[in-house]
């Protein structure tokens, strides 16, 4: 094979490799999410109450303890599971009792879930029970929300901020102690 043809052949081979590299570097396009859908993300990490109520130590008991260990409350390590419910337009999509993490069950209960839902307006109610009580909830939030196409609507929780957080700018405030809140 003459040199000219060889170099031409090499050019063709390089072009083929370039086509493979260039094509599969971003093609074919992948549809990850439909335009008429939205995503509801429930994410929280929260420690339930102690499984047994804490006992206040007496002054004698405190005095008997080393100075660096004089905590006024005597608590068991294990925490109660956290019950979380999410209700969308009257339909419960999550009702899960989440065990505390950690070898001794003393860590936060964690839940992280995604739901794909049609975009649109919904009545959203989220509830949480963090104590050993048998019925009712310690936190609840209800809101009428409009979820846009491809919106990522996050339901979070921060006890110090008062309870559930909806990570969307148009739903203000949080509520606690079972008091419903129209968003």
């Amino acid at each position: 094979m003459g040199n000219v043809f060889r170099y031409m052949g090499q050019g063709v081979v390089y072009a083929l490799i370039a086509v493979v590299l260039g094509f599969f570097a971003d093609t074919p396009a992948y549809r990850h999410f439909d335009d008429d859908k939205a995503q509801l993300t429930l994410s929280l990490a929260h420690s339930g109450k102690h499984l047994q109520e804490c006992r206040r130590r007496t002054a004698e008991e405190l005095a008997a303890l080393p100075a660096n260990m004089r905590k006024p409350l005597d608590c068991t390590r294990e925490r109660t599971p956290v019950l979380v419910e999410v209700e969308l337009d009257g339909q419960i999509i999550v009702s899960e009792s989440v065990s505390p993490s950690g070898l001794f069950g003393d860590g936060p209960s964690q839940i992280y879930k995604n739901f794909v839902i049609p975009s649109g307006s919904y009545t959203l109610i989220v509830r949480m029970r963090e104590s050993p009580r048998a019925e009712g909830f310690d936190y609840q939030r209800e809101a009428h929300v409009v979820i846009a196409p491809r919106q990522r609507f996050v339901i979070g929780f921060q006890a110090e901020a008062g309870g559930f957080i909806f990570a969307t700018p148009d739903v203000p405030a949080v509520s606690r102690n079972g008091q419903p809140n129209q968003g």
Binding site: M1, R6, G9, Q10, V13, Y14, A15, I17, A18, V20, L21, G22, F24, A25, D26, T27, A29, Y30, R31, H32, F33, D34, D35, K37, A38, Q39, T41, S43, A45, S101, G107, P108, Q110, Y112, N114, R150, Q151, R152, V154, G156, A167, T168
Partner: protein, 547 residues
């Protein structure tokens, strides 16, 4: 002496037996069939020296350096902030397209090229059965390279912090969270723009730099059992492939998606399918399924050298009585299996050869290089300084004589071939005797002299793997150099070269080899014979082949 047969290819027989009915072997044969045909085309276009399929590992290395250099340039301008990251990459891509944009594109396409080269490299080593036996170490140490390359590549896409990065970030962290080994779900870092910290990009940059450095370390380990590894492609091939990358960078520059927005789910994404095919798989199945798939695949890759286990031939053994520590075997061994150590038997030589049996593949190249491997020796037993117990040189001499005994006519030819190249069984016939060796360089050149000077045949054919692609890495190179009197042991000058045909041929080249042999045989009657060849002196032992 063995019963005379025309075809004395022990290697062919054992190969057929090992392939018989094994699914792995069937897949290998199919792949090898395809590779050999593509390689033949590329041989014609590039020549053996530049054939890309013969230098896949070296090309992977070359792409690595292109990625490293272009990455250093991009890093100079990269800003590790949640908004600044995207802006800095956009500056390179748009404002500085002529250099920064090209560097970014080179970074991407060379990274993709690495994946392509690695994938084909692995597939080819598997097809050619170069991954088990003593070669398990190189295969196994290659597996972590895959993970490191993917970690480096995925974190690279992550750093751009566009919609694609957002998709990868959330999916990757959710995938990792599935393991349940993190105190708190790391995907929670990506709940909202406010939850993302600039320092996260610093960590990401750290991983993106450390992974390739670790990769370099593993590559070094990967090559520990390979002598004279080809880590650089031939210059012409390097120039060609680099120009290809530059041209591609100008024709189709790498660009970003719109900036990441954690309040919106990315819709349509232009995935890099070299690095990111696992993500659609996560969407289509589950994180657990992808962990399972990745785990099984990794395990299979690690375990492949033993699935099924290969029966390893006995390693070469050294006979110290005939070893003077000349180092030729150590210099020729392609697997670092021979080490010279201080003499242990009191003979007046500085060193002796020792064989590491765990590394030896029994290719026999050492026996072919030993100056004592001369078939002329009759006064004493033919015991070379180093030899293969299963396929010894005395046995080879017997086989040569047996093959010669049934040849007739004036065009008698003995073909010395290689177990891993064109099969010789169908070549054998009237006037042609064949002998297959574990590697063509296992043949001491003195055997050619022996055949012709003893009139055991009118011509000798040397065949083996295609030039540039020896199964045992350097067998063809060493044999070529020995025949050309460029590497010890030389083929003696008295050997009439007109009676010697060298033809490198893979299994796919069987027809070509057969026709060349026929052409060679047709010309033999016209080649004048040396006077009374059978009377040429036989030398007892020593350095007979170094004429």
């Amino acid at each position: 002496m063995r019963a005379p047969t025309r075809s004395e290819s022990l290697g062919d027989q054992s190969r057929r037996a090992s392939l018989n009915g094994e699914p792995v072997a069937l897949v290998q044969r199919g792949l090898r069939w395809g590779f050999e045909r593509v390689e033949a085309v590329l041989d014609r276009i590039f020549g053996a020296a530049w054939n890309p399929l013969y230098q896949l590992g070296a090309l992977g290395f070359f792409y690595y350096w292109v990625v490293a250099v272009s990455g250093i340039y991009v890093y100079i301008f990269f800003d590790t902030g949640t908004t600044e990251a995207y802006e800095s990459v956009e500056y390179l891509t748009v404002d500085q397209w002529y250099l920064g944009g090209v560097m970014r594109s080179l970074h991407r396409y060379a990274s993709d090229g690495m994946i392509l080269m690695m994938a084909v490299h692995m597939l080819r080593e598997f097809a050619l059965d170069r991954y088990r036996g003593a070669r398990w170490f190189t295969w196994v140490t290659g597996t972590p390279i895959l993970w490191l390359v993917f970690v480096a590549g995925i974190t690279g896409y992550w750093m751009v912090w566009d919609e694609l990065a957002q998709y990868i970030a959330i999916a990757s962290t959710e995938w990792l969270d599935w393991l349940g080994i993190f105190g708190e779900a790391i995907a929670r870092n990506f709940l909202s723009p406010n939850s993302l910290d600039d320092r996260f990009f610093t960590l990401l940059t750290f991983i993106h730099i450390v992974a390739p450095l670790l990769l370099l370390l593993v590559l070094w380990i990967h090559l520990q059992r390979v002598t004279k590894p080809r880590i650089n492609p031939k210059r012409g091939l390097a120039v060609g492939t680099f120009l290809m990358l530059v041209a591609l960078s100008f024709v189709k520059p790498a660009v970003s998606h719109p900036p990441a927005d954690l309040t919106v789910v990315p819709g349509v994404l232009n995935l890099d399918w070299f690095y990111l095919p696992a993500y659609p798989l996560m969407d289509a199945t589950s994180y657990g399924a992808v962990w399972g798939f990745a785990g099984v695949l990794t395990f299979m890759l690690f375990a492949l050298p033993w699935l099924p286990p290969v029966r390893r031939p006995a390693a070469a053994t050294v006979n110290l009585d005939n070893c003077n520590g000349c180092e030729r075997c150590a210099n020729d061994c392609p697997y670092n299996a021979i080490v010279m150590r201080p003499r242990s038997d009191g003979l007046p030589f500085e060193n002796e050869a020792t064989v590491d049996a765990s590394v030896c593949v029994a290719c026999g190249i050492c026996a072919g290089s030993c100056p004592t491997s001369t078939p002329f020796r009759r006064a004493s037993a033919l015991v070379p300084g180093i030899d293969l117990p299963d396929r010894s040189l005395p046995e080879l001499r017997d086989r040569v004589e047996a093959a010669s005994a049934i040849l007739s006519g004036d065009r008698r030819v003995i073909v010395f071939g290689c177990d891993h190249a064109a099969p010789l069984d169908r070549l054998a016939g009237d006037g042609i005797g064949t002998l297959s060796l574990p590697c063509i360089a296992a043949l001491p050149p003195s055997f050619i002299d022996y055949v012709l000077s003893r009139d055991l045949a009118d011509g000798v054919v040397i065949t083996g793997c295609r030039d540039g692609e020896c199964f045992n890495r350097y067998g063809v190179d060493w044999m070529t150099a020995r025949l050309a009197s460029e590497r010890d042991p030389y083929l003696r000058k008295r050997v009439p070269r007109a009676r010697l045909l060298t033809c490198w041929a893979a299994a796919a080249d069987r027809t070509m080899l057969a026709s060349k042999i026929e052409l060679f045989r047709a010309g033999l009657p016209a080649v004048p014979k040396p006077a009374a060849p059978h009377l040429q002196p036989a030398v007892a032992g020593g350095d007979d082949s170094n004429g």
